[in-house]
Assembly symmetry: C2
Homo-oligomer: 355 residues x 2
């Protein structure tokens, strides 16, 4: 299928419109570009901020900003926690920042940042600072109210909550962010990630016209279209709505976290309200290691991930429960996960007791 074929053009246009629907925005500008989620950072760094301008980074996640010349100030949080809002307020009062960025769900710890409050704080203290959200691990599994919260950039990828194979950088920019880009005095620092190249393409496809800068990943756009039809419930009115989907993620998350609590397992996030709804990060019980638990879960058909965060890497594991696992109850994934966890821990206990 050609990328300028009359059959393909409206499919691309629909994807752009449905991405707006998923993020609850009326007029923000989606950019769908062949690449991984990381390419979204090149877009931000090369378009939204100019060399020498200041960026405030909460915790981690500022891939590429320095490559393109931004001055980065980092505020760190305790492991499992987020940067306190008063600390953020103080930082914003001290210096003028072109943008602030934070990771909505930190995939390494399962910490959920209070996106609405962070955005609200920025708007109150430093209204011109752009709010850039790394939402790779949160779009379609956590609530994101783009317009209502006043976000400026949400960047993500096709393969997590959006349920499509990897290969598509999905970025949504507010009109305020687009205007900031239009006002730049220094040329965009990237060629492939330049909005000067891509904005006319996105506008053309949305208007039902093909346009060319670089070949879009046609087949992947079709797959993305299929996912979005499901997520927005356009495919079939009997499908859960986006609101219902997010509620299903919360319910699933609570069920798994409650079961973990009953088993005496401690979560990595320090506060229940800051725990992601699409994943659960749990410390191993004392004396138990990854090599004890993970293969036992695997034997029971449950694949979980090890720890990722440097200093506590070997002390915890991560369960993913986004997308179908949360939404399609008939699969019975949640009960299977809980049962596998219970049985594996019981088995370990018996063996250790027997030694």
């Amino acid at each position: 299928m050609s990328h300028i074929s009359p059959e393909f053009v409206p499919v691309f246009g629909d994807c752009i419109r449905m991405v707006r629907e998923v993020l609850l925005t009326n007029d923000a500008q989606p950019f769908l570009i062949s690449g991984s989620g990381t390419l979204g950072w090149d877009q931000v760094a090369a378009n939204v901020i100019e060399p020498g301008e200041n960026a405030l980074v909460l915790n981690t996640g500022y891939f590429g900003l320095e490559t393109y010349g931004a001055n980065v100030t980092q505020l760190t949080a305790p492991i499992g926690g987020t940067v306190p809002l008063p600390t953020l307020t103080a930082a914003l009062q001290q210096k003028k920042y072109k943008l602030l960025t934070f990771t909505h769900v930190d995939t390494s710890t399962g910490v959920l940042s209070p996106a609405a409050q962070i955005a609200q704080t920025v708007r109150a203290v430093s209204p011109d600072t752009l709010v850039v959200v790394d939402a790779v691990c949160s779009v379609a599994s956590e609530e994101i109210r783009f317009d209502e919260w006043g976000l400026d950039v949400v960047l993500t990828a096709s393969q997590k909550g959006l349920g499509t194979p990897p290969g598509l950088s999905v970025l949504v920019a507010s009109q305020r962010a687009v205007k900031a880009w239009q006002r730049r005095t220094v040329r965009e620092g990237s060629y492939y990630a330049s909005w000067k190249k891509w904005l006319p393409i996105m506008k053309a496809y949305e208007a039902g016209q093909p346009a060319y800068f670089a070949t879009p990943p046609v087949n992947l756009i079709y797959a993305f279209h299929a996912s979005l039809l499901q997520i927005t419930a356009r495919a079939d009115p009997s499908l859960p709505s986006l609101t219902q989907r997010l509620a299903a993620h919360r319910a699933t998350s609570q069920k798994i976290k409650a079961a973990a609590r009953a088993l005496g397992l401690k979560q990595v996030p320090l506060q229940e309200s800051e725990a992601a709804n699409g994943m659960t990060a749990l410390y191993f019980p004392e004396g138990v290691k990854a090599a004890d638990l993970l293969p036992r879960l695997g034997k029971r058909g449950v694949v979980v991930a090890g720890g990722l965060l440097g200093s506590i890497k070997d002390t915890y594991f991560r369960i993913g429960h986004m997308g179908v696992t949360a939404v399609d109850e008939a699969r019975g994934d949640v009960d299977k996960i809980i049962k596998a966890l219970e049985d594996s821990l019981e088995e370990i206990k018996k063996e250790k007791g027997g030694k």
Copy 2:
């Protein structure tokens, strides 16, 4: 399928090895990155050349070099022709160039540049200048002898001669190009396209280990693997070898060009030896327009493209005949194209005559 799954890792590694096979190189370094062919230019511009260094461009095609700070000198050729080798020699003698770049097959005109001779000229006159080939429209349809010709970068995409859906930037760098990158004094100008990030990933996957910088397009890598198995004839020893594939492209091309000549159609390339083997660009006969011919071909099941080059855009059309059309004779594509061309022109003649 996860990008760190033990099943996926060797598939990625095989792709890297088979790309070397397709380009006839022993030790050049392939980079397979989620993105379009254009991303290859960001790789070249941000890694191989440094700000302030000189680039010599034959004709067109230097996407992004200036964005990353290179000084570009352009040598133009007449429409349908290439830059004469003495002109190239003179330019190389006048100034020191970090790299020279040319488009192997110009998709807008079907002109095939004499890649071997250009590379030979550079090696003779300015041995340190790196030879960068935009081979988007030529890999697997034109002969490319990477090592023998002494090329430094060949960049292409998955969706043309390589026969895979779009979404993969495919770039191969000589060890000389890799060393030039290692010697840079200015940091790479791109984050997503930085070889500092990607080289360890490519090396890890080739060695059978997963590694992470940005998520690779897993499903597309599987598709690419399937294409490469066919192109390298690894899938089935009864498949045509790469040599036979290229011969089939030449034979197909000659057949179509001979038929066009018999119909009195003039090619856009000025010299037969500089006409691409994967496509044919033909001027319309006098008095015939795109609107006369293209729909008539379409009715007969043959989709061709209009002209692309600004000044002669409306005076010619382009027939693609790469991949299965050239290799799989049983499809009968070539005869169908020729018959459609003959019948359409005959029909136009009758109608015009009847008016």
